[in-house]
Subunit: 327 residues, 2 copies
């Protein structure tokens, strides 16, 4: 079978959808985006992506395109369907895979965005050559993808890899999923803000040190606390911001130690907004993971940042899915 040269990657978000044409080296040759919510139904949405890419498909040659990969927040690899959030225009289960494949006349496959990122890291990024690794996407929520024996774990129903919804604190913080103590209520961009609010409330009873950027002062000036604000404060040496990252890394590290005991990975890759805090999050995460590991796993597992630029990762991950399609 002749290897085809190009793959189409589509990253579908509730707000924006990015898409592009990618070659086997991971160069994005063409890319564009559109507003997901501008389209009254998924048929018009898929048609708009197709219309946008059509000239390039003709230019590079349809026969040279291996397939289409799409990543979306709640996507089922097995059924080919996505579920959009309740507050969006499109309701219920949308047969995205079939729509893509019919509209483009090319094989298509879909998965959730964290799984797409895992395949992207394995194909083009920090996990190149690895057969056993975990990727954690630390965004507004927490996504995860587990790769074992060189294959993504989809699970029986296609919904594997929800490490963000493992319960890590019994009767802990209320999660959007309706349960309490999910990891993503702590180790996400929103979780770290909740931690900040809790610690600020705790420290307000203490005397405030003389530190201009001290988060308590920011807070008392009425500024909104954000995960990037906490990062900026940590860079200036703000002890509260550092304490917030320490606590976040503790929860994340403890969770990872338990996940390691299940799949024994070579490395854990951190991706997404919170991962950009670098050592502020990597160091405590590594420290608490090691402290909680069974001895057989200790000092073996790297925690590394993503090897993909955040701008390109989503399209590359989705496109990487497209390489495994057969015609």
């Amino acid at each position: 079978m002749q290897l085809k040269s190009f793959s189409i990657g589509i990253d579908i978000g509730g707000t924006n959808t990015a898409f592009g044409l990618v070659n086997r080296r991971g160069d994005i040759l063409v890319q564009d985006r559109l507003h997901t919510q501008d389209y009254a139904n998924p048929e018009l949405f898929v048609q708009a992506i197709y219309d946008n890419l059509k000239p390039y498909i003709e230019q590079y040659g349809k026969s040279q395109i291996n397939g289409i990969g799409a990543g979306a927040p709640i996507a089922n690899h097995y059924t080919g369907e996505i579920l959009m959030s309740a507050n969006l225009l499109w309701k219920g289960a949308i047969p995205l895979q079939r729509l893509l494949s019919d509209t483009f006349g090319l094989p298509a496959t879909i998965t959730n965005d964290a799984n797409a990122t895992a395949i992207g890291e394995m194909t083009y990024g920090a996990a190149k050559g690895m057969k056993d690794f975990i990727i954690i996407t630390l965004g507004t929520g927490v996504g995860s993808g587990f790769v074992a024996n060189g294959q993504l774990i989809y699970g029986h129903d296609g919904f594997a890899g929800e490490l963000g919804h493992t319960i890590v604190v019994r009767d802990g913080r209320l999660c959007g999923c309706g349960r309490k103590g999910c990891m993503e209520t702590y180790a996400s961009a929103t979780g770290i803000v909740r931690t900040a609010m809790e610690l600020i409330a705790l420290h307000e009873r203490d005397p405030i040190p003389e530190h201009e950027d001290w988060l308590l002062n920011v807070f008392s000036r009425g500024d909104e606390i954000s995960s990037s604000g906490i990062y900026k404060a940590a860079v200036t040496g703000d002890p509260l911001a550092i304490e917030i990252f320490e606590f976040t890394g503790k929860i994340l590290g403890e969770t990872l130690a338990n996940a390691v005991a299940i799949t024994s990975p070579e490395a854990i890759i951190l991706f997404g907004g919170l991962a950009k805090a670098g050592d502020f999050i990597l160091k405590p995460t590594k420290k608490y993971m090691e402290l909680n590991l069974l001895s057989v796993y200790r000092d073996k597992i790297d925690i590394i940042p993503s090897g993909l630029s955040e701008r390109d990762a989503a399209i590359l991950g989705a496109a990487a899915l497209g390489w495994n399609l057969t015609h």
Copy 2:
């Protein structure tokens, strides 16, 4: 390639080693056992197994034997080595796979006993036809094997599947591994006895109801509390024994709910001494698992007892390993 008819399974324990010749249907044609500690070194031990099986190998035909599978408590599938406990005669890493293969003149492979049981269930037992499942062995300790995409997860270094050593209670019970709060300090034959002791201490301050088999009375007569004693008490309706199983099932169910979020299995198979308590352990485990599952996994996952008889499971599991060997 012609399919060969027989496989040799060896189950190595610290005390006893069982071995047998198995056909593809899972019939154990020949089996025997020996005392592991009767042998001064592993070479003599392997030679004794070989001497025992030699007449049958000749009878059934060496050319018809596909290979040898061996399961042992701390066995590494990748290195082919086992580590015996410190209190045994043989020290350090023992190259079991090479010893077996050299002595028998047949290909050999090894893995830990829980992984062997997982492959046994997949080949001959309750997981026949399943591609994604978890097996939990509830014995003196807790072992586990995870199968995803039809393959056992060995992990990068061969040590995957230690669910018994995930930390489920922060600062909980001290575990033999040196850490605190490991699942196996609660949901094992030894863990359930610790629970009994704790609850008895708690209830001794309460008035003792009039119940002849009431565990408190057994305890006050000076009998030793055992997991089988707790089971017998539960059968007679002893409320404390039922409370002990309820607590054990709660810890196990909560742990399984988190494991499900990682691999999304079709079923979870319980094996070993504690699993023989039937509904006393299955029902609370299922109840607390469901209570703690993310909605997408709810009411989908069976918790079922092993499909292998305990007497045969270890040999069958080890023998099943031998089918995947190539010559």
